[in-house]
Amino acid sequence: MKDKDIEQLINKYLEGETSPEKEQEIALELQRPDIPQEWKAIRLMLGELTLGEAEYDTIVAKKSLPFGGGLERGRRWFSIISSMAAVLLVGLFLYQHLPTENTNEVPHYYTSNLSAGSTLRNVYTGHRHQEKHLSYTQFKTMLYENK
């Protein structure tokens, strides 16, 4: 606020025409270190309670902003991003380590080295050391993909 505006507010204050909210505004403005001597008298008249109330309202308003402000906002964003990263890592770990339920799906190694002309016997004998129990459905699938 410019000095001229403060001067006008002070005049209104002396005329008894300011609201409590405007007086809080004046109290905050008069906290500057380099104010004229006359303004110091006004600051004294407004008192600590007005200033304290003004600061209280300012802090509460700042806290009620979404994610606060400045450093506080940075901290909150950091914690949100950290939480999201942790959830993703746990999800990835579980995805890689838990067994899948779908037994109808043919594992990739059953079909990985199939080539034209491979028979069911080639496939079975080549891979039976990896999986002893192949279902009829899985053999059918392999044959179908090999045609």
């Binding site: 005329e15 008894g16 006359e38 008298a41 008249m45 300012t58």
Partner: protein, 163 residues
């Protein structure tokens, strides 16, 4: 207000100031501390408070000040005023603060009782002209005129003393 009168309303008042702390801190523990400090302050000065008046607005303002003081104390660095200057806490600064407070008290002593009452209702309790009019029954224009006269008197006296 006597100490026993204050004790009579203390429980109800405490609930009110607790809400102020809770709104500010969000944590019940800090709000309790602020409420406790507020009640101690009010207890200390209760004999200077007019018993016929509603003490709640003053209690709320004191509670807000206690919250801000606690907030400052709990910050790691010396924080203070919103304009970057630190609040005075050295013996010399405390002495200066006491001097200016005494100067203000002496300036207020020059006011007529009615002027002083209205001045304090505005400055201490932070009541609006409408609220003062409701409480005292004095018409609003008269309140504005008396508050203005009181402020100008105090201002003139303070300026004279500060030279």
């Amino acid at each position: 207000m006597t100490r026993s009168e204050f004790e009579h309303i203390a429980a109800q008042l405490r609930q009110k100031v607790l809400k102020v702390g809770l709104q500010f801190f969000g944590s019940p523990e800090d709000a309790e501390d602020a409420a406790q400090e507020t009640m101690v302050q009010l207890w200390r000065y209760c004999e200077q408070i007019d018993a016929s008046r509603n003490i709640e607005p003053l209690a709320v303002r004191v509670a807000k000040n206690c919250c801000v003081s606690m907030y400052r104390r709990n910050r790691p660095a010396p924080i203070p005023s919103l304009y970057g200057g630190e609040l005075g806490s050295s013996p010399q600064e405390i002495m200066e603060a006491n001097d200016t407070q005494r100067m203000l008290e002496e300036a207020l002593d020059l006011l007529k009782p009615r002027e002083r009452q209205l001045f304090e209702m505005r400055q201490l309790e932070g009541l609006s002209v409408d609220e003062i009019s409701t409480e005292t029954g004095i018409p609003k224009p008269s309140i504005t005129a008396m508050v203005s006269a009181a402020r100008k008197k105090v201002f003139t006296e303070l300026k004279r003393r500060m030279k």
